[in-house]
Subunit: 527 residues, 2 copies
Amino acid sequence: MELLGESLIGAHSVRGDAGEITATDMTTGKVVGPHFGGNTKSDLDRACGLAEAAFEPYRALPLEKRAVFLEAIAQAILDLGDELIQRCMQESGLPRPRLEGERGRTVGQLRLFAQVVRDGGFLDVRIDPALPERKPLPRPDLRLRNIPLGPVAVFGASNFPLAFSVAGGDTASALAAGCPVVAKAHSAHPGTSELVGRAVQKAVKDCGLPEGVFSLLYDSGTAIGQGLVADPRIKAVGFTGSRRGGLALMGIAAARPEPIPVYAEMSSINPVLLLPGALAARGAEIARAFVGALTLGAGQFCTNPGLVLGIDGEGLQAFIDAAKAAVLDAPAATMLTPGIFNAYCSGVETLAGHAGVETLARGKEGTQFQGRAGLFATTADQFLAQHALQDEIFGASSLVVRCRDEAQLISVLHAIEGQLTAALHLTEADHPLARRLLPLLERKVGRILVGGFGTGVEVAHAMVHGGPFPSTSDGRTTSVGSLAISRFLRPVCYQDLPAGLLPEALRDENPLGLTRRMDGKVATPTA
Amino acid sequence: MELLGESLIGAHSVRGDAGEITATDMTTGKVVGPHFGGNTKSDLDRACGLAEAAFEPYRALPLEKRAVFLEAIAQAILDLGDELIQRCMQESGLPRPRLEGERGRTVGQLRLFAQVVRDGGFLDVRIDPALPERKPLPRPDLRLRNIPLGPVAVFGASNFPLAFSVAGGDTASALAAGCPVVAKAHSAHPGTSELVGRAVQKAVKDCGLPEGVFSLLYDSGTAIGQGLVADPRIKAVGFTGSRRGGLALMGIAAARPEPIPVYAEMSSINPVLLLPGALAARGAEIARAFVGALTLGAGQFCTNPGLVLGIDGEGLQAFIDAAKAAVLDAPAATMLTPGIFNAYCSGVETLAGHAGVETLARGKEGTQFQGRAGLFATTADQFLAQHALQDEIFGASSLVVRCRDEAQLISVLHAIEGQLTAALHLTEADHPLARRLLPLLERKVGRILVGGFGTGVEVAHAMVHGGPFPSTSDGRTTSVGSLAISRFLRPVCYQDLPAGLLPEALRDENPLGLTRRMDGKVATPTA
């Protein structure tokens, strides 16, 4: 498929004429064609108009058709074949196996949401039948289901050009909920975005859906992204990116005449807690696994382990020694964009320059745009005194905080901001301490894991990829896993509707075979 | 119980010394003692500190103990006996049967949430067991449950001194979720608030809970309310009141270093749609029921029918004629506060003064602080041209909008803001039109009802008392019914936790007997 540098507005390809976006081949530093046209406000207006027009017919589709559409997108992405992988490697600097894996994740996500749609549990159907004889007043017939919010704006992420971008988790969950999507391509991978966008556009057409179910815009600056969030037809926003970017979108959304929810996944340093028993038993082994997780994908994960907490002593020293050796050995890795590379370098430099921060090790030098891993250490006293030591450095940099004792470890945990994940390394002897830490960790993070690192984020029903502010804008939600659909829903109650006017999901005879709450009790359908 | 004019800070009674709050006997216009002390910032600080300290032990309680606590509050409120009703009648001007009913609702709400807590469905337990043999990567063990957000600020409402105030729906659902509550008494009914507050305080003590689970503050101005929303220990806000008040709290919450959710139920004019068949069949009958709903409780319900839409013609005229007659006959009714009475009078005057608004009828004159019902009419053209005609007038005033035809009725619906409810009156012949209206109504309101009016809000599992902005700050939720608990929860995922560290709700053996999602499929417990 020839890349045209065009945006996709409903069924049409439109070359925007507000500036240009050009990809950089991160391995060579050279510009890769074609040039993509940035969209204008009037393109944005058309995309939002089409999305609004598509909303009613799209949400009214039988669930089965919505599920088939999600599967058609998955297939259309696979049908792009190796061209997608090659273009994406070029634009992102990410290696083939990672991108093949990410494509699998993207396709798997779409298929998971197809199942979620078929299951129908997300409708949260509740029926409280009428009690006409109740005294002093009869109870009306009450039925509840979730409906979709309306058109959703999705912002592609730099670090997951497939799984968190044009047809990534936000798009999949919004479409699954019944919301049309207006996506904004990330400027770092415009060609990947066009390819995936065309796959979605094809699925819309092949499934006979209204064209406005999906559009893809390009932004040569910030006007289109900001305009999307401000557009009155947009009813929710999905975003994965920097804290600054997320906060800006939250501000725009809150200032609208009608404020809307922004689901922004922003920044996290994902503390790793090394408990004494684990350090004594396998400090060096944990260190090697840790450096593996730290340097995976050049450290460019929201869940990268950027903070290590341990109690000073022989065990922690053994961990540090082994981690130093592994970092020294770590090859430099190509980063996603020149901007991310530069921010990483300056972030590491700033960290190294803080009072009381020791540079333990740097990874091997690389070529242009290749980030060198960095391992640093400080004391808990310093960490508690300098809030800037919590700043996320996006890339393979981590800070080990030496705590005096358990009490100080707990003080540090109290002091950290909301995070996506916390990882515990422990043995059975550490369980009493772990029991003390868990309630505190629950308040700080969205996912607590034992014996590993947060970098892998399974797409599953029980996953939470979210966490208290500022790791996300809204800690009540997740952006990965089937629960992500609930971000784009709201409940509606139907009181005393004649049977003939009830939505199918709410009819007595349960034609969709849904699990429902009847008078508050879960009732699974009889086969 | 002697009223002392004191706030309740944990287990203590504290007389605030930042100004005074005094109730007015609405039937006489006279001051009712005692004077209540307004709280200081340092009182607020103590209440929030105690709430924070109570959070961990409170949320760690077995669900059964939490449920028993809610039931103990219900019983303690009943144990206040007639003193509560008498004081509340005096402060609110509401009649005895209404307040006895409201007490029943309040107690019923607490008991419903006790059931919800015992059921445990709100924990939304999901388990995706490990798949160690999966290729290319094993799947970790993933388990999810909801945990409470933290201490919640609850603002008492003027119009429901029991059911939406100190121990009302917000408090009941927050406590059910596992969140301590710091309540702010509404200044219109300080004595009622103290009585109910002491009942909650007694239940906290009798159940042996940490004192900070509940505090009750008084605010002689706005500093305490605003300070509560700004306090870093408060993690969510429940509010029922004016749009201005709700927007102010939303602004404070969004500007915090850590923004928090505000669940504000603000303003709504609750359109009533009179479809042609129903008008032809029983226009006059509907009109009499409508005026009954309009004037109920002096019209001081969030769900009061403030807007009537119909297609011009004989049927609508018959409705109007009968409604006029009923309004002319309607006795004036004592309003809740002098401020609300004055706002009602000026709101009605403003409405009557708008171009193209005809005053159809006013209810009987009354004594001081008694509101007279008001019925007004305008054309859809006028309504569409003047946005101010949508402003809520809190009280027994309603505006009939004459539409030319179905298309114009639909245009009016498109133009209205988010609402709590919409009521349809129809016959079978109206079903085709109703089917066209329903998708639009779903986007505009939280509850659609047929054949009645929205004023009764059943406390049930399938209730939604919420709706798109500006009827509430967050249309994804409800403030009435069991689903209200979800406002105060967030999900946490546990990955690869050793069995010994798992929360009880997540253990394989399901000791709490919860309905769970296992690998995405609903599994009810085996008995």
